[in-house]
Symmetry: C3
Subunit: 267 residues, 3 copies
Amino acid sequence: MDDAARIGRDLDEIRKQAPLIHNITNYVVMNNTANALLAIGASPVMAHAEEEVEQMVGYAGALVINIGTLSPAWIRAMRKAQAVAHRNGTPVIIDPVGAGATSLRTNTMRELMQTSAPTVIRGNASEIIALQTDVASTKGVDSQHAASDAEAHARALSAQTGAVVCVSGATDLIIAGDRTWTIQNGHPLMPRVTGLGCTATALIGAFCAVNASPAEATAHAMAVMGIAGEVAGADAKGPGTLQLLFLDALHTIDATTIAAHLQWTSP
Amino acid sequence: MDDAARIGRDLDEIRKQAPLIHNITNYVVMNNTANALLAIGASPVMAHAEEEVEQMVGYAGALVINIGTLSPAWIRAMRKAQAVAHRNGTPVIIDPVGAGATSLRTNTMRELMQTSAPTVIRGNASEIIALQTDVASTKGVDSQHAASDAEAHARALSAQTGAVVCVSGATDLIIAGDRTWTIQNGHPLMPRVTGLGCTATALIGAFCAVNASPAEATAHAMAVMGIAGEVAGADAKGPGTLQLLFLDALHTIDATTIAAHLQWTSP
Amino acid sequence: MDDAARIGRDLDEIRKQAPLIHNITNYVVMNNTANALLAIGASPVMAHAEEEVEQMVGYAGALVINIGTLSPAWIRAMRKAQAVAHRNGTPVIIDPVGAGATSLRTNTMRELMQTSAPTVIRGNASEIIALQTDVASTKGVDSQHAASDAEAHARALSAQTGAVVCVSGATDLIIAGDRTWTIQNGHPLMPRVTGLGCTATALIGAFCAVNASPAEATAHAMAVMGIAGEVAGADAKGPGTLQLLFLDALHTIDATTIAAHLQWTSP
């Protein structure tokens, strides 16, 4: 089975199983994230109350934690959900939005990484550098670096935590121990739409729910992101139309589309 | 006056009166819900602070309570707003998002139903079953059942509470005591857009604000939802474009469009 | 340099500098606001936790405070962020969503205006009237008045606070001491999309980050809003498609488009 067929098989499984993806994510992107998961065939739930996250994560095929808009109560909920997921063997995908910009974000990420090893960490280059150094490397939530700047840090972070580390950018980089993927798919308008990074993290959750290899699941999800962006970008007149055509593309993407577009290097 | 004309008359009234619809709803759908209410001609307000809900609901033509993303402070605000609405005779529409999935949601719904009888309850089949039994019948927020599976439960729930009960699905079911509507309108892409159920609940609020019969208002709102979905679906290329074309359709829908599409049985 | 060229120069600077705009804004519009700022070339961040706002605002080119969905913790965060912005000389733009509708909103606005003078206040006519009188002049968040009804109040509010006051409506009004702009650009569908007023406030932030005259920055931002609305409105079939085409228009708008559309009176 070739690469495109393997990615297509994951898509088929997501559409067949409709795995529940439990998201504790930021206010800005909740709607996009839910729509992207629905478009690809998964079943999203957004639940962040301390009083219910432990019960909800029990049904989930993956837990996605995103620190984009934090508060103390949400941090407690993230820890509780993460502990149950760890106990159940449910994949935990973490998105360190804005790590490096404020101590609250950087410290929360360090704490979440120490509580139990996440399955996958996906961030932009500035965020991944911030997790692995003490340098505040970003002024907000947009990256100040290319993905390749973060390669050594991603490699070290993967070695330290055992997690798959994904650095997204014009070229995406996926590091899992000594295995590396690079993905060239994508469209220049994508960074002009808020929350497509967060969407990528959520889709990694959907792929992890149906593929037992988190590294392969992450690479597959990022390839689908990039290719859906290209398909959407071909007809988009700007970031507004891109956002919707991207959801349309996620709904229809299959092994054939992937075979026609895939530009990656895999281990 | 035939059915389509009666629905069209409600639409005209909404556009003329622009009733304020007070929503205490979840983070995921706030934007969609506000846009749907604006598109149809109502005036939405989203206010959830304990400190202001009692004052805000005083201006409202309807109160819409949706438990999709709960926290203790919001539950208190829901109770306060509901009490004022009950005192003022303002219709209260409740959406039990994810009831049955966690105790927090199920218990909050039971408490809200006991505080004072809601005017309308609209949920998917799994949610309506969960409200009326002790069976946790859903794994998240997407239904595990067809609307017809919930008919007996909806009938019992309506008898117990005095509320109009609406079970949405491929066929929508509206039960008000011994009167029943079924609506066949809709489009298969609709469940692939997050929050269209929540939008339906909010639109029921707008119709209840201008039509003194909650049962008829609910049936009219659900017919408009389904028909707007069909109109949008005719041009949509996927769930992304459907979402926007649906708002466009709500803006222009009238008695003529309704007469051309309406597929329902009414008492 | 003519008016269109001066507006175009601000747009060029926003796209070159990509200033960080720190938003403490309401749940309903966070996504739209972030997308509008990205579309125009700025770098948005949404951060509201008391624990991080002081650090985040330190990187920002402007601070945008919007009271659309308040809670006590957010009010404390607003005050903290505003104090740091004032100390650093960072422009502070305030949006009094729903002021006049509830005491919580009106009192919060009064407190924020007394803590330190905001740079710009942008609201609809009912909101601006409510800030300057004791009359509760709005029933929700949609204006009950035309912008011209609020002119005397806007003038008094500007004199009292030293802030630029912008009243948006079919005709926008910008008052800065004894200077006045009126802008006729815009499209009738714009009030049918939620949060375009909030978007205007955020764009004023982006212009204030690159133009040392807050009055001129505000007028330029409002002209760009109105013209992008017209460009989008020309192709929109309703409020759904308008919303997206508006983002596309923000992404491409330049001095040439502005010269072809601008309808304003400037001092």
